[in-house]
Amino acid sequence: MASEFRFHKNGILGSPRVRLNGLIFVFWLGMAVVVVRLYVVQVIKHHHYLALARDNVVKVVPIPPLRGEITDRNGVVLVRNGPDFAVFEIPGEVRHPRRELAWLAYDLGIPASQLRHSLSRLGFVLPPHMPVPLETGLSMAQVGRVNMDLYRLPGFYIQVMPKRIYPPDNIGAHLLGYVGSFTSSDLKGSFYRHLPPGTGIGKSGIEKEYDALLQGAPGLRRQLVDSHGRIVRNLRNEPPKEGRSLRLTIDMRLQMTAERFLGDRRGAVVALDPRNGEILALASHPSYSSEELSQAMSSARWKTLVQATDHPLTDRAVQGLYPPGSVFKIVTTLAGLSEHKVDPDASFHCAGTFRVGSVIFHDWKRGGHGTIHLHKAIEQSCDIFFYHLGMTLGPEPIARVARLFGLGSRTGIDLPAELSGVVPDREWKRKYLHTPWYPGETPPMAIGQGYLTVTPLEMARLMGAVAMNGQLSHPHLLLGERGNGTGQRAPDLTPIPIPKKDFDIVRADLRDVVAAPHGTGHPVNLPFFAIAGKTGTAQVVSNRGKNKGTKRPKADSWFVGFGPFDDPRIVVAVLIENGGDGGDVAGPVAREVFRMYYITRLAEKGNPAPAVAS
């Protein structure tokens, strides 16, 4: 039996040891073949192959792809490509790097150390035949001077590169982002990205989020060159694949209106369509120049941008965390209605103060609002009413409803580095601050102060859900790729388990915030466009404690609203840092965005023509 399983019954390969000898014999046989073959190729036919290698060297030069354009929803081009002159170096072909870099620097009129710096950013990780961009954005005079000198600068050349052209006046800078040339650190994770040096990659905003779509694929130019580097002929070229063009949900007219009326104030404007989550405008000020950031920039300039006290690099619309102030009373009201802790018809006396233990909270209006109902409390933003309601509810129901509206978690908008605010409750405070919740912390939370923070985008989404009877939208910026249908996605809405009648009560109140002459949001009122909304005036820093003696900064002002009242199509959230009163400061910005929306989208559809815009 045993012998049956042997390879050979009779003999020399009869045992595993002998078979191992057989393997080694195969190895020696193979080695003999290798040595003979090596001798033939390397010694006998050496001259033949050496000639082939010397005379026909294929040089592979990558051709950068054209980055896709970005347009708004109506096809208005926001970002396009323009020409830019750059000087390149092929390190492997430069004979005297020090001397020639000095010549080049003289021609360009810049210090040689700057050129060496751009070389060291990429030179080490790339094979020496790959061209490295030394200096981009050359002026015509620089191009001329370098061109005259190229005869004594082998290994250097000038090439026209595509460059990104962004809208004037930094419109939509945060939203669009900027591109930058990749550095060694970008290559580290993915060494074989095969992008030609000098290609821009998205560094923030849409440019970064959709980099893979916008990028395209580089082509290859295979050149047969002789041993002196002269091109003999071109071999198979692989053309670059142009990046996809993107169509955003942004409406440029609303975006420009928002930025124009935001003016020089620090703040953010978000406009979105509550029916499907399409972002119509996303503005943030102060801003930066995308074009400036896309070019090579001195480290000193970069430092000033990063360290500036007004934080121009922060996109306040999705990264700014602010207390929502009185706008949050919508959440408190809905929490009260769903817990049956507030009766819309019950009357309440507001005396102007509210006491928890030894702490006395004041209303914004000295002397109070007198006897009011829920309706008036929202319309005139009575604080005492909501202090009382908050104390009745406690922090948990408020936090629960706030989280239902997506506060405290990212909205998932297609922008990199979105931040989310904080919705505090007892558990949160124990976990992060390691202290118990004090009763005196509930009244501020009920009117959107204290630990509570939100981003303007979160507030816009919240108001959208209120307008849509609790249908929470998912904000997004990408409408589709250009020339690729309308890209209309099926609306993707998450229902919130709060009865419709509660929303009806709140919406009626919000309408009167704007429509009623004594409503806090009356500055927003437009005679031809039914707007509803809520103002907020959120005190930011106390002037006691460590800020004692400094001038008390003005409160952040908010207006968040929607319109038209009966058929909501647009939500606008405006935040102005340290602006002061919500209705008077943030309100007019929102009003102008609403007005522009009406003019461009509603007026032609059988609605009355508006009065001339102010």
């Binding site: 049956e4 390879f7 595993p16 078979r19 393997l23 290698a53 080490f124 074989y192 071999l235």
Partner: protein, 363 residues
């Protein structure tokens, strides 16, 4: 224990140590001439691999064999993860990302399979002939991961697994009757097999085989690898072009210079003389593995070291013959030489297993 092992390696096998270090240095030097950055990375992997090898030396190999099932199982699970959610690069799905680096579980399967087959085929203290049931289990244990890997697609590594299986079966011995029958059946069903395999190959894999049949048919396209590789080797001459004169490498004329064709780079730079030295170094390692197996009186140790040796020598031969245009470009990297962290670690791990058998086995 570490000191004892190190003393053993240095005193008893100084030649092995010298040869291994020389090969590792040659590897770094060659990669440095291709892309310095890769050499730095590979150097880190070598250090990591050597430390790993030292770790392997600390554990007697019977312990490895006892747990071979579990090692194999874990690697198979990793392969399954890659198959389902691996990190794609160059259209291939081979890697698992772990922060700043990626591991390639298919390479670890090589060691896993060697250990598993040793455990499966040598169940007792004495060597008994291979039973059909165990043969079938071994076949399944090799073919299943090989299929997973071939789907990545990585034909080279799948091929390596089948080499390991064949080496083990050959060493165990199969009846000549069965060999004859399978060869005849293979010939009879060749058209069917050809159709089955050929239609499932990727286009670039087909191109490589087409190019092997007639490399000159399209110099800038299909036969490019083979032709450029031979030109690189040939331009080396007796003493090579040196690190700076090797234009084939410098102008990236040679695709895959740091992976499959690293031997071509070396011969272009150091010529026929360098190649002979290199072959001598490799032969020493093969001889070392052969002696380890022959001196070992424990069947498990014999099969383990013989399996490692067989795998090493076949991968080496196939790679060199591929570089020299005698075999088609199947994508088998050269052990200890080709760029790749996971491959370097398993190559050094295999060397450590040989030393392990030397150290712990009864002679």
């Amino acid at each position: 224990m570490v000191a004892k092992i190190l003393a053993y390696v240095v005193r008893v096998h100084p030649a092995f140590l010298v040869v291994l270090s020389a090969l590792l240095l040659i590897d770094l030097l060659t990669l440095f001439s291709v892309t310095p950055y890769l050499a730095v990375k590979q150097g880190l992997w070598e250090v990591f691999g050597l430390l790993m090898g030292l770790g392997i030396l600390l554990v007697p190999y019977p312990l490895f064999l006892k747990n071979a099932r579990w090692i194999y199982g874990v690697v198979l699970a990793l392969l399954a993860i890659v198959f389902l959610a691996g990190h794609a690069s160059h259209g291939a799905r081979r890697w698992i990302g772990l922060g700043w680096f990626q591991i390639q579980p298919s390479e670890f399967m090589i060691l896993g399979l060697i250990l598993f087959l040793t455990w499966l085929f040598v169940p007792e203290k004495r060597d008994i002939p291979l039973r059909p049931a165990r043969f079938a289990a071994g076949l399944l244990a090799s073919v299943f991961p090989a299929l997973l890997i071939a789907r990545q697609p990585d034909l080279g590594t799948a091929f390596e697994l089948m080499i390991i299986f064949s080496v083990f079966v050959f060493l165990k011995g199969i009846p000549s009757r069965i060999v004859t029958i399978s060869v005849l059946a293979g010939l009879a069903f060749f058209p069917v097999l050809w159709e089955g395999v050929w239609t499932h190959l990727h286009e670039f894999q087909k191109d490589r085989i087409r190019a092997f049949i007639d490399p000159a048919s399209d110099p800038s396209g299909l036969g490019y690898h083979t032709i450029q590789s031979i030109v690189a080797v040939g331009s080396g001459g007796w003493f090579g072009q040196g690190l700076s004169g090797a234009t084939q490498v410098r102008y990236q004329f040679l695709p895959g210079a740091h992976t499959d064709f690293v031997f071509a780079v070396f011969t272009e730079e150091w010529g026929f003389a360098g190649a002979l030295v290199f072959l001598a170094l490799i032969s020493y390692l093969v001889w070392f593995g052969f002696r380890t197996a022959m001196d070992c009186r424990d069947p498990a140790g014999f099969y383990l070291s013989a399996g490692v040796t067989g795998f090493f020598l076949f991968c080496f031969l196939i790679n060199v013959l591929m570089v020299l245009g005698i075999l088609p470009v199947v994508g088998v990297p050269m052990p200890l030489m080709s760029y790749g962290g996971s491959a370097m670690i398993i190559s050094l791990g295999a060397m450590a297993l040989l030393m392990n058998v030397r150290f712990y086995a009864k002679r």
